[in-house]
């Protein structure tokens, strides 16, 4: 008797969930980050930044933080964490350590927060990848 009742309840529940899931908007991830401008001074051969990627949505998103130069060429840097998931309406600190180029007294970089679609989320044939980039100038103090 109990199993009959539970099966009667479960089937509509599953159908309801499946229907609700099918109505979810097929949206790609969004991005936000702060700060987006900054100037740092460093006494060493490298400089450190802290940025705060944020998730403006209610649902979780996967985020990747990358470092580029002025021409959007990738820059070798230590990003911690570089790839993570963010809960809805949340942000978290990401530490970025970038070396100065040999002999250079300053370095301009972009720190970009990029969206990473969850596997199987995108069923369309064009994906828009949101990218928020902060511009930072680092000066080496002798």
């Amino acid at each position: 008797m109990k199993s009959k009742i539970s099966s009667k309840l479960l089937i509509p529940s599953f159908l309801g969930c499946a229907f609700a899931l099918s109505l979810l908007p097929q949206q790609a991830a969004a991005q936000a980050m702060s700060p987006m401008r900054g100037q740092v001074k460093s006494f060493s051969d490298a400089f450190a930044l802290k940025v705060y990627p944020a998730n403006p949505y209610e649902h979780r998103i996967r985020v990747e933080v990358k470092v580029y130069d002025q021409d959007f060429n990738p820059v070798k840097a230590q990003v911690s964490p570089a790839n993570f998931t963010l809960a809805g309406r949340n942000s978290r600190a990401v530490n970025v350590v970038v070396p100065f180029l040999p002999g250079a007294t300053e370095r301009k970089i972009r720190v970009c927060t990029e969206s990473v679609p969850f596997p199987g989320q995108s069923k369309t044939t064009t994906n828009i990848k949101a990218q928020i980039c902060g511009k930072f100038l680092a000066e080496r103090v002798e």
Binding site: M36, T125, T126, I128, A130, I132, C133
Partner: protein
């Protein structure tokens, strides 16, 4: 007895504390808005093929544009799109020319372009398009094609 009661009532009223001076207080509410740019409401698009199967585009046939919303809490931000990338079936070995563009409305109005543009403070709606074109007699072979455009606010 009645007189006494009236007297007592009058005395009670006279002795009732009266607040002569009203005081005011300020209740303050504070907020700090960071200087930032947010991209949300990102909706992917789709590619349609032309009759000759040498053009795949979000503005051709059943293709649809992608869209997004950018919220800028200050000036000095700009928007741009990257050159698109196209993932294609291995059987398709010929090259194609890729192009992307965007247009905006709302706080910032920009006609279709692929150049970097300044963003105004406020909410801007962005429409993103991409296309892939085969040259000469080449056509897109049967299979699944996936394009990607990076929309950047910086």
């Amino acid at each position: 007895m009645k007189k006494f009661a009236k007297f007592a009532a009058a005395a009670a009223v006279a002795l009732f504390p009266v607040q002569a001076i009203a005081d005011t207080g300020n209740v303050q509410f504070g907020a700090t808005i960071t200087h930032s740019c947010t991209i949300d409401n990102v909706t992917n698009g789709s590619l349609g093929a032309n009759a000759g199967f040498n053009v795949l585009s979000s503005t051709v046939g059943s293709g649809t544009s992608g869209s997004a919303r950018i919220v800028a809490t200050g000036n000095a931000f700009n928007v741009s799109v990257s050159a698109p990338t196209l993932t294609k079936p291995t059987s398709d070995t010929t090259t194609e020319t890729l192009a992307s563009s965007y247009s905006t409305s709302g706080a910032t109005s920009i006609a279709s372009t692929n150049a970097v543009s300044d963003l105004n403070n406020g909410t801007t709606n962005v429409t993103v398009d991409m296309s892939a074109t085969k040259a000469g007699s080449d056509v897109f072979e049967a299979g699944v094609y996936t394009g990607e455009v990076v929309l950047t606010c910086e």
